[in-house]
């Protein structure tokens, strides 16, 4: 049989670029994942040679999967499409690439899970680790004493379609070896993977809360591997509430999301207030998140991470961006990002904007409404500029250029909607704060150019026509304005907490920062101005504060130059002897 390639219809590509994805398009992505995993299994099969237990278990699993497939493809497809298989197979390839040996034996457990789930016969040697046999996607058989030293022991697992026999002692009905959705009876010797069954708007969604598969512990923070019954109950409740939010207001995302996302990996945050979520191209159908503070936040995370999952699926099929090239500014990150990261981010944020576009019409309490309005205004304003930056990298492929064009068109459509002026002002201020903080941290100014300008200013000359070269490098200056930035964001993300903190008056803020946060822009300008002029050393955080305070005034050339050339102005100022009025210097640049 000749080998052909998956064909992605032009309509599916357009749907995905527009942020959507109907059932047919989602099917295209899911089917491609099956082929991808089959392809990667072939790659591993070539390497799984020799008499050792791992490769032998892999080969037996491969033969078993072929039998399962021959009896009816659905059971094999469940496994081939699962993020559990994806996580393991990517680790195996990377380990091979690094000259190591893949964990071949784990595949036998994956195939055993598919057989048990479908009630198909199986007879496999499976690994035992830390006293358990993992059946990924279902749960674990508890085998006390097996593999307790961290090294894999081996156990024969047989399934006759009805009963599962593990080793010599444990015999359990196959039908009871299911995930634990909180309604199933306790089965001695079995721990089902925690699951949530959510139902809203006539649609059911079942999703695993994966706490036990080590190959899905692959996000920026560690997987939560231990959760009390009470915590598990809270997670289930939160997921159900979030599903109601997306089904009520964001059906465009909810329906495909419910088809594709089968696993949530709860993460252990570094602090209680941090919300971290993530997606990996290695596990299509899964995403990870730390504990979300409220259902709307989790609903936003669902939409956000589902955008990443879709784009990962598309990128497996169609290269949109080439690697290499200079890192650039991404309005949602503290660090410079490669073009591929910017593409992921702008696509995710296009979904986030759409989420808040609808959510702002659903919120009823003033604080919730303010949050929704500002998040809508803030993120929609970055879509167009971020797409423009992406194009300028020169890293987009022809398909990537078409994709970016559709993203830009989305940004334009979203910009046509109105928001209250006060909302627009808050959004513009936090966006400016983010960009200026990033530029002062990561934008290098050519030293000769800055010297030349400092000499010209000191001598009473003009700035001259020759532009000063700038480029991006990580952490070229230390800028410590994180508390002020956090408070500027807290104003709309959690207005109640913001009010409490401000009322306490104990925050270690400068006098100028307090004036800025109180919207006393004239006083704040003077306070920052004095702070910069009187200081012997660079005051980069004060420069940003000064630009933000000027931004609260009506537009002017001064305001414009501070927003666009701040790193250069601050560098020139640092080269001048004696007290120099920062506004006088900034005016010189207008």
């Amino acid at each position: 049989m000749p080998l052909t390639k998956h064909i992605l219809p032009a309509t599916a590509f357009a749907e995905l670029a527009d942020g959507g994805g109907g059932p047919a398009t989602m099917r295209q992505l899911s089917e491609a994942q099956l082929s991808k995993h089959l392809m990667l299994l072939c790659a591993l099969a070539e390497a799984a040679r020799g008499p050792q237990p791992g490769p032998a278990a892999f080969r037996a699993g491969f033969r078993q999967l072929a039998k399962i497939q021959a009896d009816g493809p659905a059971a094999a497809d469940w496994l081939l499409g699962s993020p559990h298989l994806g996580g393991w197979i990517h680790d195996s390839l990377i380990r091979q690439d690094q000259g190591g040996t893949p964990d071949f034996g784990h595949f036998a457990g994956l195939v055993a899970a598919a057989a048990v789930r479908a009630g198909r016969p199986a007879d496999l040697e499976v690994p035992v680790r830390d006293g358990r046999v993992l059946l990924p996607g279902l749960g674990s058989l508890l085998v006390p004493g097996g593999g307790d030293d961290g090294e894999a022991a081996w156990l024969r697992l047989r399934c006759d379609g009805q009963l599962v026999t593990a080793g010599d002692q444990l015999v359990l009905p196959a039908g009871q070896l299911v995930p634990d959705d909180g309604t199933t009876a306790v089965v001695p010797g079995w721990r089902g993977t925690p699951a949530v069954r959510a139902s809203a708007g006539g649609r059911d969604w079942t999703v695993l809360l994966e706490t036990g598969d080590p190959y899905l512990d692959r996000y920026s923070l560690p997987m939560r591997t231990a959760m009390s019954a009470a915590e598990l109950g809270e997670w289930r409740e939160r997921v159900r509430a979030a599903w109601s939010v997306v089904m009520d207001r964001h059906r465009w995302a909810a329906e495909p999301l419910g088809e594709v996302i089968s696993v949530i990996v709860p993460l252990t945050p570094q602090s209680e207030t941090d919300l971290v979520s993530g997606t990996t191209p290695a596990a299509y159908g899964a995403f990870a998140t730390s504990w979300p503070p409220d259902p709307v936040t989790l609903a936003e995370t669902l939409v956000h991470e589902f955008q990443h999952v879709k784009l990962c699926g598309l990128l497996d099929l169609v290269p949109l961006v080439r690697t290499g090239g200079q890192p650039v500014y991404a309005p949602w990150r503290q660090d410079p990002r490669p073009a591929s990261g910017l593409l992921q981010g702008v696509y995710a944020h296009a979904g986030i904007v759409r989420f808040w576009q609808a959510q702002r019409h659903a919120e009823t309490d003033p604080d919730g409404l303010l949050r929704a309005q500002v998040l809508f205004a803030r993120w929609r304003s970055v879509i167009g500029p971020a797409v423009q930056t992406l194009r300028q990298t020169g890293s987009l492929t022809p398909a990537g250029i078409r994709f970016a064009e559709r993203l830009a068109a989305q940004g334009e459509r979203l910009s046509a909607e109105t928001v209250p002026p006060a909302v627009g002002q808050i959004a513009a201020q936090v966006s400016l704060d983010h960009r200026l903080t990033w530029e002062l941290r990561h934008l290098v100014v050519d030293a000769d150019g800055a010297d030349r300008l400092a000499a010209a200013y000191a001598g009473g000359g003009a700035t001259g026509p020759e532009p000063v070269r700038t480029w991006i490098a990580e952490d070229v200056r230390k800028v410590d304005a994180s508390l002020r930035s956090r408070l500027l964001n807290l104003r709309y993300l959690d207005p109640s907490r913001y009010r409490t903190l401000c009322a306490d008056g104990v925050l270690p803020l400068s006098a100028a920062d307090r004036l800025l946060l109180a919207d006393r822009s004239e006083d704040a300008v003077e306070a920052y101005r004095a702070q910069i002029a009187d200081s012997a050393g660079p005051q980069f955080d004060a420069w940003i504060g000064l630009a933000l305070a000027l931004h609260q005034r009506p537009p002017s050339p001064l305001h414009e130059v501070m927003a666009t050339r701040l790193a250069l102005i601050a560098e020139v100022h640092a080269r001048l002897a004696g007290p120099v009025d920062p506004l006088d210097l900034a005016r010189w640049f207008t």
Binding site: L3, A10, T11, A32, M39, L65, D97, P214, D217, R218
Partner: protein
């Protein structure tokens, strides 16, 4: 879909393997499949997908 729209359909980089029996695949030895695998491995290296924490500790 008319012929012009069909022409815009995208031939992807993933081989269509769903119609193959898994047993057949293992012995396929197809150069086209080997090429697709090599491309994917290259992409893995370029994109820097990292090991799971579990494997990274090993």
């Amino acid at each position: 879909m008319n012929s012009q729209e069909k022409a815009k359909n995208i031939e992807t980089v993933i081989p269509e393997l769903r119609d193959f029996n898994i047993d057949q695949l293992a012995g396929l030895g197809s150069p086209a499949l080997a090429h697709s695998i090599a491309l994917y491995r290259e992409r893995l290296r370029e994109t820097g997908i990292t090991l799971s924490s579990f494997d990274a500790r090993i």
